[in-house]
Symmetry: C2
Amino acid sequence: MQKPSSSLRLVIVGGVAAGASAAARARRLSESASIILLERGPDVSFANCGLPYYVGGEIAQRAALAVQTPQTLKALLNLDVRTSTEAVAIDRPGKRVQVRSLGSGTTEWLPYDNLLLAPGAVPLRPALPGIDDARIFTLRSLQDMDRIKAAAVEAKRVAVIGAGFIGLEMAEQFVRLGKQVTLVELLDQVLPPLDKPMTLFIEDELRRHGIDLILGDGIESFDCGAALTCRLKSARRIEADLVVLSIGVRPDSALARDAGLALGPRGHIRVNEFMQTSDPDIYAAGDAIESNDLVTGDPASVPLGGPANRQGRLVADHIFAPTLAKPWPGLLGTAIVRVFDVSAGLTGWSEKRLRAAGRPYRTITVNDSQHAGYFPGAKPIILKLLWDPETGRVLGAQAAGLAGVDKRLDVLATALAGKLTIDDLAQLELAYAPPFGAAKDIVNLAGFAACNTRDGLVTPVETLQDDPNVQILDVRPPALVQSHPLPRPATANIPLAALRLRLGELDRSRPVVTVCALGKTAYFAARILAQNGFQVSCLTGGIRAHWDPRSPAKLPTP
Amino acid sequence: MQKPSSSLRLVIVGGVAAGASAAARARRLSESASIILLERGPDVSFANCGLPYYVGGEIAQRAALAVQTPQTLKALLNLDVRTSTEAVAIDRPGKRVQVRSLGSGTTEWLPYDNLLLAPGAVPLRPALPGIDDARIFTLRSLQDMDRIKAAAVEAKRVAVIGAGFIGLEMAEQFVRLGKQVTLVELLDQVLPPLDKPMTLFIEDELRRHGIDLILGDGIESFDCGAALTCRLKSARRIEADLVVLSIGVRPDSALARDAGLALGPRGHIRVNEFMQTSDPDIYAAGDAIESNDLVTGDPASVPLGGPANRQGRLVADHIFAPTLAKPWPGLLGTAIVRVFDVSAGLTGWSEKRLRAAGRPYRTITVNDSQHAGYFPGAKPIILKLLWDPETGRVLGAQAAGLAGVDKRLDVLATALAGKLTIDDLAQLELAYAPPFGAAKDIVNLAGFAACNTRDGLVTPVETLQDDPNVQILDVRPPALVQSHPLPRPATANIPLAALRLRLGELDRSRPVVTVCALGKTAYFAARILAQNGFQVSCLTGGIRAHWDPRSPAKLPTP
């Protein structure tokens, strides 16, 4: 039997996103509960997603990141906040947790009715030769941030190892500070959660800003002389005055493991749909947990602030108002990054994940502007959609571009939550006025293109095959054909407006791939050819998917 | 039996959004069909939503609005486009439509297998005294636009009658041109589809830009001397050199009516879920039709470009690929307008519509920033949510603010399409990085607040009652209390951080309403009071809902 909430004792380990959210919601549900918030670091409830931006000065005031203190949380929420305090052991039968003050070294046992583990995740710092050099940093806390910012004052050359979300944000901010930046990524692409074609705009943008981008290479060791030299697996050497390691995180789950709680294969704390661990009196939330994927129900972990906050809140609901608590719907992994003028992100499953999992899928890529092309300020955006071939249900989406990326990701995350299909996307009634959208938004276009693919109206291909039997029909206007030649010369260059009259230039007995800049005109051409007896497919997304989004892809008026 | 599509004759009446979309999709589905596109005006497929922006010069090139011509549509889509040609009669038994050339006056009968009526809507121009003065304009075509732009060169004083979407866009553009603008609206609010509290930001923005805004007054007559004088119902007189009437539209459905097709009560052409009229060989799409509401299934008409385009496309599907055609899901009426720096819009049902229809609903209003408050450029946004009290299903939403309004409307339109509930909104996993969103997006906050209301954790009120028995507790910081006094003095001003210590200042036997700037702190206070035995409610949306969004609503660090 649960104790009445009037006297319930909740102890929370970890005072940032999930922990602080749980504490605040708990207090709103129970004025009389005892709520103790333990934090190993000196700060609670700080804005950890903002750390890179203070390093680069885009966020000017450090105080903007650390609004709450133990004192304000006492005053506002009547919380017992203990910073610089580490939870070192859990006595599950005795329902108490042992804590140690990092200042005094003293320990004590705190009794709990419910315990929440919200320890977060630790940046990976592999035991490479030279790794302990003081010029090599990871970024998790405000103190990490302060150290990097201080070291950056004198540094001229910065190496960022790992081109995930944080690595990209740090690289951008170091350029902002005028540093000479090298960005190293082990995979052959930036932004590992995305499919490579959708990351090319970010690559271009990094290089355009003078970043030396090294893909497909990893850090092997550091030579720590007067200069710090990063030795890569390729034997390439990079000299740097400051190194930031952003190669991933691991769940900070030692306390849970030592207490015998069930962990997932990569050390995450396993939880049910109410965030209960294998001990129902002990909850876990945030970056350290493994819950389930919203689309497939498979185990999943997403170390991001949004889910952490909402998971913490759900824990408080389940403890203090169990009849009101709604089960966790699962994780999508929605994420976005801004790199100078370009942004990119994803929601749900990527093609590489689907392929690795052996799940059936189909995919298309579409190009458009973020709002009506006739309104000033129209900027390119590209959207990739993945769906289930049997049901048409959307499985995931990726977007990149110069504007409107966040909006489309949010629409598609909502579509995933609603289990919408490609037919539903085609019919979404989104807000249209010229400054904001288009009569057919790119999300509608993606729905149209996906339905056309499913219905056999078009056969998309993702690359231009080398097969010499395949005829490549380039329907771009001549100026664009000249300025942006295809990787393989086209069999014929026929603008769409002339295609019906010039079908004789193509061999009806050999397959054709139609190509244009954005994918739309090539689709129109493919429809003409298909109805004239050709075996035809169409380069999805056009050739822009492989080039700088600023290139003159748009067809002039025909 | 339908004829094989190889020889099918499709005649389309109306060549703008729905008609042009249908023609283009039809050609992609059938290279061999005969497709005739009739347009009464001289232009086809022009960007009618862009017209106000060319008048004001924000769109600089007229050609940007009129990309296609009969010649380009012939070349690209092999369409037989006949502009300046009016359809005057339909012979349904004979399956032919009579057309008249407006140039030569000659008529002919065109046979059809399928006919699509996409005639659009006509701006209302009531038979008021003086209405035929040449200085009084409505805006539908490129020629209307040209005439207004020409007249605006000399005009100093402009009156815009009607403060709906087009009226607001025109008023903004006339200010851009340096005109002295009066905007008159019969209702006591701008943007009639929205609930009044959500339109106050637009009102402020109009006045801030020097527009003389007259609400609750209508046009009665015009005195047409050397000066043009608008006489209002209130007897107020406005002198103007140019008047734009934007008081609504009526469906251009005379042809359908004369042909005996079923019309709705306001003259719209009734269609089924495949856009078929009461004659299954005759389709209708766009501004002239009545289809159904997505939320309730009731008859609905929405004269906007997005639905028109997609309806036209669906017509072509149903004619040329009937097995692929998916039924129309219904209309949401998603719409948005930009007025200088503020934007506002809605999707689904408003409170006034729900109230008028006698449908049960509940509602809350929340305030936040468009992205993390700690990141530079955070700007206020306000969101109103309506939901079904029994199922929790979202019924509608409205948003206004300085940034991010379009994104939230699109997320909520997608939520409506997915029949999501307030619990689903609370758990949406939207894209968060500091430049784009927040760990708890305002859509999540709206979900939280709605669930809290449903679950009895808070009782929202929309206005401060005059009842002297009710205690008003103002929890804003003292500086804000001084600078922005409440309409009725508070019983007590107690900042949240001091509330637990100062509960004695309130009378436990009398009800309390808590008030703050944004609604959030007042909710926190209400939770403390409720748990201490008070009967408490909370002003939803805070007092900012009644003031300029630029006012210093945000609580400084406590």
